[in-house]
Symmetry: C2
Subunit: 480 residues, 2 copies
C-alpha cells in the first residue's frame, strides 16, 4: 500500500499509554475524580482547539509556548489551550445565568475538568508537551471558605492516593502586592506600576531555582530602555525585601511578624487577614496543619492570580517539582466581560504526579489486562462453540476472550494467556465437548476443576465475585 517506509516515531514530549500504564493511570485518575466529586465539583469538557485570541493576553512566559494551528478558513487564528483555566473563564463569560429562562451557569459554580493541555516547548527540553491537568475551581464567591475547600481538596486527594509525605506552601498575592509599597515602586513615565510589579513577581518566582542573591541582582538592575519593566529596587528596598524573605517560624509567627513588616500597608494586612481566616477553616476540618506552610517566597508565574496561591510538592520526590497548585484569580473573566468575577481553584499536573508516584512505587501496577477469562481453542472445528462460550460469558458481564493465537497448540495458547495476565482459562477439547464438560484453570493458584458446561457462566460469576471482593476489576463485582 505505501511506497515508502515511515519511521513509527512519536514527537518528543508526547506520551503513549499502553495497557499496563493506562490501567494504572486510570486507577489514579478515578481516585482523584471520586475525591473531586465528593466536593461537588461538576464535570465539564472543553475542546482541544480554541481561538488564539481566547488564550492570549497572558504574561510572556506562557504566551510564547502555545501551539498554533496553521491557517484555516476561520476568521481568527486557532491554537491549543495551555491550561483549563482560560477556557473555563471563556465558558463562564459565554453562559451568564438568565433568571427568566433559568438557563446559563448559576453562580457559585463548582466545576472540575480533566484532559490534555499543550505547551510548545522545544522537543529537546525533556518536558511534557502534552499532559493532563485535573482542575477544580469555584467561581462566583469571594468567601475564603472556597479557598479553604480547595486546600482541603488537595489534602483529601493525597490521602486517597496514599501519599502522606507532601508539603503545601501557601502565600497571598495581596502580600506580594504590598511589596510594591514596601519597595516604593511607582508608575514610570512609559510603564505602569502594574507591569513593574508583574515583573517583580516573575523574578521572585525564580527564588527556588536561582537563589536569593541572583534574584536580588535582577531586582536591582536598571532599565535598559523606557519600556524595560526592570523593578530597579533601591538598596533600602532590597534590605526591606531581605527582611521580608527572612521571616521565619510557625505559620502564626510568620503572620504576626509579617503584620509588623507591613504595618500601615492595607493591601498586605488584608491578605494576612484572609490567610488567618483560611487557617481557621482548615482547623475546623481537622486538616493536618503541619503539612501546610506559609511561604512568602512563592508567587506562581501566571499573572492572573489575585489572592491566596498554593503549591504542593512531594517531600520524598521534590525533583518532580510542584504537582498540585492553584490560587485565587478574581480578574480572569474580565478579559471577556470587562467585569470581575471571583474564582479560586487548583490543578494537578496528572502526568507529572503519575511519574512521581511511579517513582515512589505508590502506583498500583497489578493489572496488565481487563480480560478475566480466556477460552483456549484446542479442538479444531469447534470455533463456533468457543465463540458461543465467550458470548455467553459476555452477556453475563464477564470479561472473556477467545484465544486468537495463530498456533493453536495448547502450550502456545497457555503461554499467551499467562503473558497477558489473564486470571482463568477455559479448556474444552473433543472429549469435553462429547461429555458436555469443561475444564477451568485458575492461573494464579493453578487449580483446575471440571464442571458441566452449562454451569460455566455460574461458576465463573461466583469465582470472580469472590476474587474481586477487595479489588473490583470486573463488572460482575460492581454490578451488585
Amino acid at each position: 500500500m505505501s511506497e515508502y517506509i515511515v519511521k513509527p516515531e512519536r514527537p518528543g514530549g508526547f506520551l503513549d499509554f499502553l495497557p499496563e500504564d493506562y490501567l494504572a493511570r486510570e486507577k489514579m485518575l478515578q481516585t482523584i475524580e471520586n475525591v473531586y466529586r465528593r466536593f461537588g465539583f461538576d464535570p465539564i469538557e472543553t475542546p482541544c482547539i480554541e481561538f488564539k485570541k481566547t488564550l492570549s493576553g497572558e504574561t510572556s512566559d506562557t504566551g510564547k509556548n502555545i501551539f498554533h494551528i496553521k491557517h484555516t478558513d476561520d476568521d481568527e487564528p486557532l491554537a491549543l489551550p495551555f491550561d483549563h483555566t482560560v477556557p473555563f473563564a471563556r465558558i463562564l463569560a459565554a453562559n451568564p445565568y438568565n433568571a427568566r429562562s433559568k438557563s446559563g451557569i448559576r453562580l457559585p459554580w463548582r466545576r472540575m475538568v480533566v484532559g490534555p493541555v499543550f505547551r510548545a516547548d522545544s522537543p529537546q527540553h525533556g518536558r511534557f508537551r502534552q499532559f493532563y491537568q485535573f482542575d477544580a475551581d469555584i467561581a462566583g464567591t469571594s468567601s475564603m471558605i472556597a479557598d479553604a475547600e480547595i486546600i482541603a481538596l488537595m489534602v483529601l486527594t493525597m490521602d486517597e492516593l496514599n501519599v502522606s509525605n507532601y508539603r503545601i506552601r501557601l502565600n497571598h498575592r495581596k502580600i506580594l502586592n504590598g511589596l510594591s509599597f514596601l519597595c516604593k515602586i511607582d508608575d514610570r513615565s512609559s510603564i505602569s506600576q502594574k507591569i513593574i510589579v508583574c515583573e517583580l513577581m516573575r523574578i521572585l518566582d525564580k527564588l527556588d531555582k536561582i537563589g536569593r542573591k541572583a534574584v536580588f541582582k535582577e531586582l536591582t538592575r536598571a532599565p535598559e530602555s523606557p519600556d524595560d519593566p526592570a523593578p530597579h529596587l533601591s538598596e533600602d528596598a532590597i534590605s526591606k525585601m531581605d527582611a521580608f524573605l527572612d521571616i521565619k517560624g510557625s505559620n502564626d509567627q510568620k503572620i504576626s511578624t509579617c503584620e509588623e513588616v507591613f504595618s500601615g500597608i492595607d493591601v498586605a494586612i488584608e491578605g494576612l487577614s484572609e490567610l488567618k481566616e483560611i487557617f481557621s477553616y482548615l482547623s475546623a476540618m481537622s486538616i493536618p496543619l503541619t503539612q501546610i506552610e506559609i511561604d512568602f517566597s512563592i508567587a506562581r508565574g501566571l499573572d492572573y492570580y489575585t489572592g491566596p496561591v498554593m503549591e504542593m510538592e512531594l517531600t520524598d520526590a521534590p525533583e518532580f517539582g510542584s504537582v498540585f497548585s492553584g490560587g485565587r484569580y478574581n480578574n480572569l473573566v474580565s478579559r471577556f466581560t470587562g467585569k470581575e468575577l471571583p474564582a479560586v481553584g487548583a490543578s494537578i499536573g496528572v502526568d507529572r504526579l503519575f511519574a512521581a508516584l511511579n517513582h515512589l512505587k505508590l502506583i498500583d501496577r497489578s493489572k496488565q489486562t481487563v480480560t478475566d477469562v480466556m477460552i483456549i481453542r484446542i479442538a479444531p472445528d469447534h470455533d463456533a462453540d468457543y465463540l458461543k462460550m465467550a458470548h455467553d460469558l459476555r452477556i453475563a458481564h464477564i470479561r472473556a476472550e477467545v484465544c486468537l493465537v495463530e498456533d493453536t497448540t495448547f502450550k502456545r495458547q497457555f503461554n499467551y494467556a499467562i503473558s497477558r495476565g489473564v486470571r482463568y482459562i477455559v479448556i474444552c477439547g473433543e472429549n469435553e465437548f462429547m461429555e458436555n464438560k469443561v475444564q477451568i484453570k485458575n492461573l494464579s493458584t493453578r487449580q483446575q476443576v471440571e464442571i458441566d458446561s452449562n454451569m460455566l457462566v455460574d461458576y465463573l460469576m461466583k469465582e470472580l465475585a469472590k476474587k474481586t471482593e477487595n479489588e473490583p476489576t470486573s463488572e460482575v463485582a460492581t454490578a451488585s
Copy 2:
C-alpha cells in the same frame, strides 16, 4: 488586567460539554466501555499530536482535512490525528514483541481507545471538527472469528444502550476488488490498476449520497490527463456493475447470486466464503441476523480496508448517517514496517451517536450535578461548623457542598439548591446548633426530618444507599 475585551467565542465545529451534557455523555461512554472490556479490549491512549508523516499517506479525501501545527523546533512537521487507527498502527510497528525480554506487544492484541480526533473541515460546514471516536481493534490474526467478534461487539453495544432499531450493512473489499476483473480494469501507462480501483471504490462510496445514475456517470468519465485515475468503464462493464448492484434477496440469496456473477474470479469468491464464515459464527452467538444485511454497495472511503467492511446506522435516525463502522485492514502497519499485519476493528463516532440518541430521547439526562447534599448557611458565624459538616460527609464518601451563594437568606440558598438539582439539604440554625440537632430535607419528596447532629453522616449514608439502589450516583452506593 486586560486592556481590551475578547469575545468569549468557540470556533465552529467544536463542542463544550456543560455538566448536564457531560454527565449524560459520560454514562453513554461508560456503557460502551463496559461492553468493550467484556470482549477483552485493553485500553490505551495516544497523543493529540503526531508527526505529519505518520498520518499522511492516506487517500486524498482524508489527507486534505488534517489540522497542521505551525512550525516548531521538531525535525518533522506536526499534525493532529484524524482517527485512532493510524496511531494504533504506529504503536504496533514501534513495539514488536521480543520473546527474549518479554517486552513489546504480544500478538494477537485487542485494544480499545477513546478520545478526540480532528478533521479540518471548513467551519461553515456544520460538521464536528473535533469529536470522540471509540475504537476496538484486534491485530495479529486473520481469523474471521475476529471479524465476527467485532460485529458481535457492535450488536452488544447497541443492546446495552437500549437501541434496538439499527441496521448493520456488511460488504467485503475482496468482492469489490473482484469488480476490477469483472469490469476489466487494467494498469494504464501512467497509472496503476490499484490507484484506479481506489478511485472506483471512492466513487462507489457515494452511491447513497448521489444515486446510481450519477455514480455511473462518474465511472464512465474519460480521464482528462495521464494521471487522472478516472475508471473509464465501458458500456459492458457498466451493465455488469448494474447487475451486481441489482443483487437482491436474503443474505444467503445475495451470496449465492454473487457467487454466480463472480464465477471464476477467485478474489471475490474468497471474500464471499469469508462472509459465509462470519455468518456461521454470528449464528453460533445467536446474534439477530435480521438486522445484519449484506450490501454490496458500501465501500467505505478509507483505502486501508482489505477485507470485510461494516457500517451501522440507526433506522429511526438515518439522517445522522453511520454511527459505528469498521472493517479489516491487513496492510496499514506496512506503512511503518514494510510487512503486512492483519487487523480488524470498528469505531463509534461518539458525538454523532450522542446527538442521534439525544434526538431519539434514548439518553438519560436525569443528572444535573454530582452533588447529593448541600449544607445551607443560615447562622452567621458558623461557617467553620458548616465546613466541618461537609468535611465529615466527604470523609464518608458522600458528595456534599457548602452553599456559597453570596446572599445567605434561606430562600436564596433553597432556590439555588433546587436549581442545581441537589437531592438533600442540611439546615442548621442557631437553635439547632444549641440543641445539637440538624434538619435534613429531601428535595424530591420535600420531607424534612430532625436528627441529632452526630447522626448526620449515618443518616445520609443510609438514605443515599437506599435511593441509589437502582441507579448508583454516589460512591456510597457502589462502595459495597
